[in-house]
Symmetry: C2
């Protein structure tokens, strides 16, 4: 009788033991996070720069709103946007309603760059999931979605339009 969770106890290093929900989630997160970071780094983007470009895909927020979206102090956002602007990835435009405020927006270059990273990430996820059947992927997707949505609701956060990054 073939065990589903194969294993080589002594001297072996390959196992398929369940890690337990806590470890499994922690390690899965590091794996996914690391994958995004790696793909971003290949384009000279840090995680925070990538997240900046990510949130700008469907928004043109003020510096203050950006600080909220990224959970950073407004002074940190100044430098973050400075560096992105210097690279030609985003622009600051003075707001028409409030002359104190800016609207930060993606340039065409910035948009192309973040689209590229997101696309490469999608491919990596595909590789990551090769061992799962279609049904299992659906199951994982559904469970993960529910956890994410429940947490977002619990924190009173509006989950952004579905998109990685």
């Amino acid at each position: 009788m073939q065990r589903r969770t194969s294993k080589r106890e002594s001297s072996g290093r390959v196992t398929n033991e369940d890690l337990g929900i806590v470890d499994a989630l922690a390690q899965l997160s590091f794996l996914v996070w690391g994958t995004v970071a790696k793909k971003a780094a290949e384009h000279d983007l840090s995680m925070i720069q990538t997240r900046l470009l990510g949130v700008l895909r469907d928004r043109e927020p003020s510096m203050n709103q950006l600080a909220t979206l990224l959970a950073l102090d407004k002074s940190s956002v100044t430098g973050l946007v400075d560096r992105a602007e210097r690279r030609g990835l985003v622009t600051r435009t003075v707001s028409t309603e409030d002359r104190r405020a800016f609207r930060v927006a993606l340039t065409d270059n910035g948009r192309a760059l973040v689209a590229g990273v997101a696309d490469e990430f999608r491919k990596e996820v595909d590789i990551m999931l090769t061992d799962l059947s279609e049904a299992e992927r659906s199951e994982l997707s559904s469970l993960a979605s529910r956890v994410v949505r429940a947490s977002a609701a619990r924190m009173g956060v509006d989950l952004p339009a579905a998109q990685p990054l």
Copy 2:
């Protein structure tokens, strides 16, 4: 007939739609990663300091091995360990075999600190999963474990003893 995936299409903000496997995994990762970071920050630990303490729980590596384990340059590890040592969380001991090398180890304070963070993280995961049944948690745990193990095998990495952080 009650839809399982409830939703308020127009004007609403609460939905339970499936995010799709890519977005679900990305957002779940940000959620879990953010949870660890938040708990760590409450103890004045950065993510990398937390990971440092984490890997030291069952090892006393050299600086070089630490660089490999954390995927950092050795010069980065110098500063990292400096700051942890200054806080009394780790110690450097000259190796008996090679007088050029150190063995880095957790102090009792360091061990207690990382245990505390790991424990608080466990509690947060529990909250995160309140909406799932026992069977669903098992399913999620199993699927996540398989993905993690498969990726580790694919990268030729020995998955560390099961432990978050």
